[in-house]
Every structure is written in structure tokens, then in C-alpha cells.
């Protein structure tokens, strides 16, 4: 009985991280279902997808890609900052990330409202008048970007919580696994966009 380990309330950062990764896998496969539907329809209606994609503004898409990539870097840097014990810098970098995420959402808002203004939204007269492949493309466009935007919102909420936890001293130089996990989630949002962007905006 001597050779046993006494049980103190102990923190297993590795377990938290593994849990987060597995959660990320489920998110990836959630989008995976949509990508599968996209792949099948794109193979079937490649011409229509091409025509429909002309409606999308590649410039806005590119701008949003750049925004998300930069925000991914600032989150990664915020983790570096906390690891080096620079609490103030970490908070600033997270604030920048949240600001960038807001820009992303503003862009998205104008993009969507432009389409809706032209009567191009699910169930509308204009949309049901399109031929089959184009109809499917816009359906997928709204579903994928909508679900992605929802994840941006969730990511923003998580990062905001992390920001306050750094402020209140719950996340520190030697207890930062929650910030790391929040960061992982944000990178997931970025990762999905990296694939959505060429598949929706850059069809030629």
C-alpha cells in the first residue's frame, strides 16, 4: 500500500487539451457533412455553380480571409504573451482579435444584406426561379456561411470570457490551458473558412 499515489485535487492540462481537440473533431465533421453535400452537388452541377458563384463578391471574401488569418495570429500571440507572463499584452492582443472578428461579421452582414436586398434568399421568388444547380449553390452558400458565422459568434464569446479571466487573474503564466483551448477553437473557425473561401468565392 506504500506504493500508491496520494490523491490531491489535481489539474490535468493534457486532458483538457485532448477534450478540446476531440470537440474540434466533432465540429470538423459537422462541417464535413455540408462539405460532402457541396462536393456531390458541385460534381453534378459544375456549370451552374460556376455561374452562381459569379454573384459572390470575391473581394469581400478575400478581405474576410485576410481578417481571419490575422486574427488567428493575434490569438496565437496572446498565448505566447501569457506564457511569457505579459498579461497586458495578452489582453491587448485578444481585444484586437475580437475587433477583427467584429470586422468579419460586419463584412458578412453587408454581404448577406446585399443578396437579400436583391431578393436572393432561401424561399424567395428570385431564388426559386433559378435553375436547379444555382438554387442549390445559394442554399449551400447561406447554410455554410451561416453556420460558420454562428461559430464566429461562439468563438468571440469564448475569447471574451478568456479576456476577462486573464484580467481577473484566473488565467496566468502557469495556468493558461483554457486560453489555449479558446485559441484552438478560434483556429478551427479560421481553418473552416480557409476551405470555404475557395469553394464558394473562387469557382472558375
Amino acid at each position: 500500500m506504500e506504493n500508491t499515489i496520494s490523491h490531491i485535487v489535481h489539474r490535468d492540462d493534457e486532458a483538457s487539451k485532448m477534450g478540446m481537440w476531440i470537440f474540434i473533431f466533432t465540429e470538423l465533421l459537422l462541417f464535413g457533412g455540408l462539405f460532402l453535400v457541396y462536393a456531390v452537388f458541385r460534381a453534378k452541377y459544375s456549370e451552374d455553380f460556376h455561374i452562381a458563384a459569379m454573384e459572390l463578391n470575391a473581394f469581400v471574401g478575400t478581405a474576410n480571409t485576410v481578417i481571419l488569418l490575422i486574427s488567428s495570429m493575434t490569438v496565437a500571440m496572446a498565448i505566447t504573451a501569457i506564457q511569457k507572463g505579459d498579461k497586458g499584452l495578452s489582453i491587448k492582443l485578444l481585444a484586437v482579435t475580437l475587433l477583427l472578428a467584429t470586422f468579419f461579421m460586419i463584412n458578412k452582414y453587408f454581404e448577406w444584406s446585399g443578396k437579400i436586398h436583391h431578393g436572393l434568399y432561401p424561399g424567395s421568388e428570385v431564388m426559386l426561379g433559378l435553375n436547379r444547380g444555382q438554387l442549390l449553390f445559394f442554399g449551400l452558400y447561406y447554410a455554410t456561411t451561416g453556420l460558420h458565422a454562428l461559430h464566429v459568434f461562439i468563438g468571440m464569446a469564448i475569447l471574451a470570457v478568456m479576456l476577462f479571466r486573464i484580467k481577473s487573474g484566473k488565467i496566468t503564466q502557469d495556468n493558461f490551458v483554457h486560453l489555449e483551448n479558446g485559441g484552438l477553437y478560434w483556429h478551427l473557425v479560421d481553418l473552416i473558412w480557409i476551405f470555404l473561401f475557395p469553394l464558394l468565392y473562387l469557382i472558375t
Binding site: M1, N3, T4, I5, S6, H7, D12, E14, A15, M18, G19, I22, F23, F25, T26, E27, L28, L29, L30, F31, G32, G33, L34, L36, V37, V40, F41, K44, P122, G123, R132, G133, L135, L136, G139, L140, Y142, A143
Partner: protein, 543 residues
């Protein structure tokens, strides 16, 4: 395994402690054992509801023509029976109840990796379960699409499809969280010295199951969301009226729902794998083969979904591909059957209720598995597709496999969970009635299915009368057996004689601690020095 029998240093997990009293002490408890019992009680309640639906359907089918319900009610009955049985009982069943209770104990841990997440997944489960039952009664009529929600009908039916879809989505979320928790628990919480290949085999099967839960459930989650979007926002994916492709729905649905069959059956295999060595007092035969075959079933089982779609108009190449893989996936299951039989061979067999259930598990699972090959082969599938043959097949697998596995586990671990022993004689009688009723109920459906009786029909031609009649009689016998079994267990939980720590002379860790287990399972985390199931005759006297 170190032979430590612990003193009653800590109070049992059943005793009152913590900051909440009474019921609150249960529904807000983060103890894995209490959460397991929460799941157990929830599942039993919903099981009885679904059994009543099933029995009503059998009464309707006693004679040709309309007997006790309208066709529309019958449609709602089989839909809600399916939704409850599949999503609330058989998918979570074994892993949520016995997995939660025994996984930490079997690997020598004090709890799962994320206890609060564990409680959260029960709450989500309860919420989803209530939604599922609500869909039967609220709003515009019970859903009538069948539990498979095939589009286009599910996109057009006026009934409560959206509520049922949401319920399935919510229940899936709970399933994912349980799976996530178990994977991390097995990776991170094993006791010192417990290497992967020193783990008992029930945790192995839970590990394989957990990966399927985590990797397959999101696909059905998004699919259900897409159908919801189709119905509410008119975004076309599957409904041809909106430009969609209904066969694509079947692909996506079965990409989850076929692996889900392994979520149901793998833990049941794990349970009986614990039972055979204990009641034969012999080390399990082919430990590594059983462990690896669990992973193989999970892996290959992911890619056979198309065998549900042989008559859907899928391409010929895809059909033979899926048929071929279906035959492959039968191999690891057969390996397990041989291992169980070899474990019993020349063992000192003690025919107690858990072993009776485990042996009947093999028998019923074999019938279900072999008829599965009839369905998996392309030519015969066309003959029996969507007939009562399919119904009989999956009830043999799901009820005969998962259900009997669950009953086996219940009778095996009952003395550990409650610290009391049930009436063994009564349990044997209940088993006999259950087993007889089961075969009377489902075997005739193979026959009438072969003759062409379609599934999901509330009426039938006179030529199927005999089969349906026997089947309905069987339903009553089966329900009698279930009631007797549950009565025995409930009564014994309160009044049964006090059980010793190790009534079956088992060798795995759960039998080395007191019954019922103390709150933190182990006073001190055990150190593991060898493989599990090390039985030899002079090592048995420690109860």
C-alpha cells in the same frame, strides 16, 4: 492484479453526502456512479413507454384489418417507438449506464476525466428525451416518418417532424459529450501500471464505441439540421421540390446510423466479455484478438453504410463495394464469438443469470448476424428489402444483442451497484420467459418477411395471419418476462440480502472494492502489475 480488499473506510456512494439533500443530491451529483443510475432510471422509464407502443402495435397486428388504432396512429406508433428505442435507449444505454459506472472503476480511477461535463450530458439527454416524447403529443400530430426520417416525406409531412428531429439532434449532442469524456478518461486516467493491454475488455469496447460516437454523430447532427433548414427556411438539400437529392439524405443518414449500430452492440460485446471469464473461472481466450477486433469493427463498420440503400437506385459499383465490406465486417464479430466459446471451453462453468443472458446473447446475436448476411448480399437483399425480415433481423441484433447484453450486465453488476443480491431463482425464471417470448415474437417475422410481408404496414393479407398471431402471442410472453425481471430487480434493490464484495469470484478491479462502492471508488489508487482475468484455483478465496 493486486488482491486488495478494502475496509469500509469511506461511506458508500449511495449514502447521503455533499451539499444537496434527497433528489437534488442525485440530479446535481457529479459522481459517475450516481450519474450512471440517473441514466439507468431515465432509460428504464422511456423503455417501458416504448415497450407499450410496441405492444400496442402487436395487438393491432393480431388480426387482419383495423383492430384498435387507425393507420395514421400506427404510423406515429412505429415512428416514436423507433425514435425512443434507438436514440434514448440503445444508443446511450450501455455506455451511459455501465460505462459511466464501471469504466472509471475498471481502469482504477476515481471518476471520469470531466465529471461536470458528464452531469451536463445527462441533463442534455433528459431534455432531448422529453422533446422526443413531446413530439408525440404536442402541436400538429405525432411524427409519422419512421425513425429514419427519409426525405422527401419528412420534408413534406405535416406532423411534428421538426420537434422529433431536434430531439434526435439534442440526444446526439449528449452522446458526443459522453464519448469525448470516455476517450479522455481512458487516455489520461488509467491507474499506474495499467497499460493499454492490461485494460479489461469492457473499457476497450467503450473506447472503440466512444470514437464512433464522436466521429459519426456530428454527421447525423448536420443532416438533421439540414432537414430542419429545409422545412423551416426552404433551403434545398434533399427535397426534390427544392432542387435537392433524396438519395444524398440516405447516404448522410446512414453514414451515422450504420456506425450507430456498433455504438449499440460493441459495449454489449464488452459486457459479455467480462462475464464469460468470471463464470468460467478462466482467463479470457485471445485477449488481444478481442481488443483489436473491437477497433476493427468500429473502423470497418464506418464504411458499410450503403448496405441500407441497395434498392435506392445507388450505382452498381457502390452496391458491390458496400456488400463486400459488409461481409468483411462480419469477420471481427465472428472472431469474438469464437473467443467467447473458447473461454468457456473446459472452464468451471457456473450457470448463474448473468451467464444465461450472456449465452443467449451469443445465440440471438448469431441469428441476427447470419440473417444480416442475407441482407448484405445483393441478390437476396432485393427479395427481403423493407420486409418483416429486416424488422426481425435488427430486433435480433438490437434487442437480442444490445438488450440481452444490457440485461446480462444488469444481473452481473447488480450486487456491486446496490450492495444487495437479487433472487436468483426468480431471475432464472424471468430469463426463461424473456428468451422464449423473444423468439416467439421475432422468429415468425423472418418467415412472413421471406413470404413478402412488408414492414411498417398496419394491415396484412390473410396469408400472413399465422405468423402475425404467433408473433403477437410472443409479445405478451416477452412483456411478462420483462415485468418479472424488473420486479425482481427493484424489489431486491430494497429488500435483497446483503451482497458480499465479490459474489461471482470475479478478478477485475470492481470486485476488489466494497459493494456498493465507496464514493471515491478506491481509498488509494491501485497499482496494476499484470493482465486482467488472471484466474487460478488457489487465488480465489478472497471474498
Amino acid at each position: 492484479m493486486s488482491g486488495l480488499t478494502q475496509e469500509h473506510a469511506q461511506p458508500s456512494y449511495l449514502d447521503q453526502q455533499g451539499k444537496y439533500k434527497g433528489l437534488l443530491g442525485w440530479i446535481f451529483s457529479t459522481d459517475h456512479k450516481r450519474i450512471a443510475l440517473l441514466y439507468l432510471y431515465t432509460i428504464v422509464v422511456f423503455f417501458l413507454v416504448a415497450v407499450v407502443f410496441g405492444l400496442l402495435m402487436r395487438i393491432e397486428l393480431f388480426f387482419p384489418g383495423q383492430d384498435i388504432m387507425s393507420p395514421q396512429t400506427y404510423n406515429a406508433m412505429f415512428t416514436v417507438h423507433g425514435v425512443i428505442m434507438i436514440f434514448i435507449i440503445v444508443i446511450p444505454g450501455l455506455s451511459a449506464v455501465f460505462g459511466n459506472f464501471f469504466l472509471p472503476i475498471l481502469i482504477g480511477a476515481k471518476d471520469v476525466a470531466f465529471p461536470r461535463l458528464n452531469l451536463l450530458s445527462w441533463w442534455i439527454f433528459l431534455f432531448g428525451a422529453i422533446l422526443a416524447v413531446l413530439s408525440q403529443f404536442a402541436g400538429s400530430g405525432a411524427p409519422d416518418t419512421g425513425w429514419t426520417f427519409y426525405v422527401p416525406y419528412s420534408a413534406e409531412s405535416d406532423s411534428n417532424v421538426v420537434i422529433a428531429l431536434t430531439a434526435a439532434f439534442v440526444l446526439g449532442f449528449s452522446s458526443i459529450l459522453t464519448g469525448l469524456n470516455f476517450i479522455v478518461t481512458i487516455h489520461r486516467m488509467r491507474a499506474p501500471g495499467m497499460t493499454w493491454f492490461r485494460m479489461p475488455l469492457f473499457p476497450w469496447s467503450l473506447y472503440a464505441t466512444a470514437w464512433i460516437q464522436v466521429l459519426a454523430t456530428p454527421i447525423v447532427g448536420i443532416t438533421l439540421l439540414m432537414v430542419i433548414a429545409e422545412r423551416t427556411l426552404h433551403i434545398g438539400f434533399f427535397d426534390p421540390a427544392l432542387g435537392g437529392d433524396p438519395i444524398l439524405f440516405q447516404h448522410l443518414f446512414w453514414i451515422y446510423s450504420h456506425p450507430a449500430v456498433y455504438v449499440m452492440i460493441l459495449p454489449a460485446m464488452g459486457v459479455v466479455t467480462e462475464i464469460f471469464p468470471t463464470f468460467s473461472q478462466k482467463p479470457v481466450f485471445g485477449y488481444t484478438a478481442i481488443a483489436i477486433s473491437s477497433l476493427a469493427i468500429a473502423g470497418v463498420g464506418y464504411f458499410v453504410w450503403g448496405h441500407h440503400m441497395f434498392t435506392s437506385g445507388m450505382s452498381y459499383s457502390a452496391r458491390w463495394f458496400f456488400s463486400f465490406l459488409t461481409f468483411i465486417v462480419a469477420v471481427p464479430s465472428a472472431i469474438k464469438v469464437f473467443n467467447w466459446l473458447s473461454t468457456m471451453y473446459k472452464g468451471s462453468i457456473d450457470l448463474k443469470p448473468p451467464l444465461l443472458y450472456a449465452i443467449s446473447f451469443i445465440f440471438l446475436f448469431m441469428i441476427g448476424g447470419l440473417t444480416g448476411l442475407v441482407l448484405g448480399s445483393l441478390a437476396t437483399n432485393v427479395q427481403v428489402h423493407d420486409t418483416a425480415f429486416v424488422v426481425a433481423h435488427f430486433h435480433y441484433i438490437i434487442f437480442g444483442g444490445m438488450g440481452f447484453g444490457f440485461f446480462a450486465g444488469m444481473h452481473y453488476w447488480f450486487p456491486k451497484m446496490y450492495g444487495r443480491m437479487y433472487n436468483i431463482k426468480l431471475a432464472n425464471i424471468a430469463w426463461g420467459i424473456l428468451f422464449t417470448g423473444f423468439n416467439f415474437l421475432y422468429f415468425p417475422q423472418f418467415v412472413i418477411g421471406m413470404q413478402g410481408m412488408p414492414r411498417r404496414y398496419f394491415d396484412y393479407l390473410p396469408q400472413f395471419q399465422v405468423g402475425h398471431f404467433i408473433s403477437s402471442i410472443g409479445a405478451f410472453i416477452l412483456v411478462t418476462g420483462i415485468i418479472l425481471m424488473i420486479y425482481n430487480l427493484i424489489r431486491s434493490a430494497h429488500k435483497g440480502e446483503v451482497a458480499p464484495a465479490n459474489p461471482w469470484r470475479g478478478s477485475t478491479l470492481e470486485w476488489q472494492i466494497s459493494s456498493p462502492p465507496p464514493l471515491e471508488n478506491f481509498d488509494e489508487i491501485p497499482v496494476i502489475t499484470g493482465k486482467p482475468y488472471q484466474y487460478n484455483t488457489d487465488d480465489l478465496g478472497n471474498e
